[in-house]
């Protein structure tokens, strides 16, 4: 009896996922979304999210979450952990989506161009990665909400072993290595797609001294002032607040640049905004969020703080809005006076 119910549940879950996959494939093949394709960005997002999950969760936890998403039942505790895993996956998709846009935007600005129309087109293309990130986040929230809503009900099957916790050194190393690989592949792909004429080396474009110093210095100071008791939340707070301050600093400088009609000042401000948001988002995705996930899964903390969630969702949103502003600032002509 129990076996029959189990098979039925799995079959139902499989059909649901197969229909969703068929729908997505049909839409892609129809050519309707041909203008909305950014392969390098999609690759970065999918593999980046996978890498970020390995940074914060053990293999057992990841497999258990997938099994629960496909309809496997378990104890309330197991479902709770799986629901948190999918919520974290959605969060990572959102952060990495915006980060992908920022990186793509930087590469486009650092590369050579066939004219303004070409640069503008490629800058707009970079916003697509945020769209992918948002869609992927929504997809990840479906199992999270389903598992969350089923919490508290009596289990149909014997409880599975709680997902493995403790040290996840192997997963973490694998996650970081995969992320570096994905970043490298994305850069190669983006640089290849830029027109001949010699774009600047990616590292040269991405390394913005002042922005790096502000983000790292600010995060370090804030994390130390908060103390060890705050755990990984201190890092989330540090990266979030420093990113916010840097964005505001950049936009104020850019406005002064427009008032003084100085292109160099506007360019310095725009590059600062882009680089600071890139570093702050990288810090959130690679360090703060995985460490907070680990604290939760190890039982060192009961729940992640509301402030952390505000930072995880708010900072990428602000970074995206500021990216749009920088696009407007770059394409707005200014009478050069200095």
């Amino acid at each position: 009896m129990t076996e029959n119910v189990k098979i039925k549940t799995l079959r139902r879950a499989f059909i649901r996922w197969a229909v969703a996959a068929a729908l997505v494939i049909a839409v892609v093949l129809s050519g309707f979304l041909a203008g909305l394709m950014n392969r390098a960005g999609l690759l970065f997002l999918l593999l980046g999210v996978l890498a970020s999950l390995f940074m914060g969760f053990s293999r057992q936890e990841i497999f258990a979450a997938f099994r629960h998403a496909f309809g496997r039942s378990g104890s309330a505790e197991d479902r709770k952990r799986a629901a948190y895993f999918w919520t974290a996956a959605g969060r990572n998709a959102w952060i990495l989506g915006v980060l992908g846009s920022v990186l793509n935007f930087t590469i486009v600005l650092g590369g050579d161009s066939r004219g303004i129309a070409d640069v503008s087109h490629r800058m707009i293309q970079s916003f697509l990665i945020t769209l992918y990130g948002l869609v992927l986040a929504i997809v990840c929230f479906v199992p999270a909400l389903k598992l969350g809503s089923r919490r508290g009900k009596e289990s149909d099957f014997p409880s599975s072993r709680p997902a493995g916790s403790g040290t996840i050194l192997f997963e973490r190393v694998f996650g970081y290595a995969l992320f570096v690989l994905v970043l490298g592949l994305t850069f190669i792909s983006l640089i290849r797609s830029s027109p001949p004429g010699g774009p600047l080396p990616a590292a040269k474009v991405l390394l913005h001294g002042p922005a790096a110093l502000v983000v790292i210095g600010g995060t370090l100071s804030l994390a130390l002032f908060l103390g060890a008791g705050s755990g990984a939340r201190a890092l989330t707070f540090g990266f979030g607040m420093t990113g916010l301050v840097a964005l505001l600093l950049g936009i104020i400088q850019a406005m002064f640049g427009f008032v003084h009609a100085r292109i160099a000042e506007i360019a310095a401000a725009v590059s600062f905004i882009i680089s600071a948001s890139c570093y702050a988002l990288l810090g959130l995705a690679l360090f703060a969020a995985p460490l907070e996930d680990r604290e939760l899964m190890d039982g060192r903390r009961e729940r992640s703080g509301r402030f952390s969630w505000m930072v995880w969702w708010g900072l990428p949103l602000l970074a995206f809005l500021f990216l749009i502003l920088t696009f407007v600032m770059v394409v707005t002509p200014v009478k050069k006076t200095g």
Binding site: L109, P210, V214, F225, A261
Partner: protein, 130 residues
């Protein structure tokens, strides 16, 4: 002198009644070893200048963080050149040269507007006289 009323007397009596003999030798030895270990830990902790090292280290990290923050802000304020900013400058200059530029500078107050460009709201004095 301890003026606190002794509330553990019944327990003392109970323990004495339950264990009238001395502790077994191995239990007593174990207890002595535990006590010696406890004392040694305290002495070691007092000898180790952990606090004296940790606090300056934390302070040094905090100072370094603030220094980085200040240096970064100053570098940005003094508009230090970066490859990305140079690229954006070139692109923006290109856009500004091609597109009709909007000047941010205010128009001079004593600028002479030719009569043919003047708005025809107020009739020209010469025309009215003639």
């Amino acid at each position: 002198m301890n003026r606190k009323p002794r509330s553990d007397e019944p327990w003392d009596d109970f323990l004495k009644a339950a264990m009238p003999d001395d502790l077994p030798a191995e239990v007593a030895a174990g207890m002595r070893a535990r006590i010696a270990e406890f004392r040694a830990d305290i002495i070691r902790a007092e000898e180790r200048p952990v606090r004296r090292i940790r606090i300056p280290l934390k302070g040094a990290w905090a100072a370094l963080g603030i220094l980085l923050l200040v240096v970064g802000s100053l570098l940005q304020g003094f508009r230090s050149r970066t490859p990305l900013a140079d690229k954006i400058s070139l692109l923006k200059a290109d856009i500004s040269n091609r597109e009709p530029a909007r000047s941010a500078a205010p128009a001079p107050a004593d600028r002479e507007i030719p009569p043919e460009d003047r708005p025809a709201i107020i009739p020209d004095e010469k025309e009215t006289r003639s």
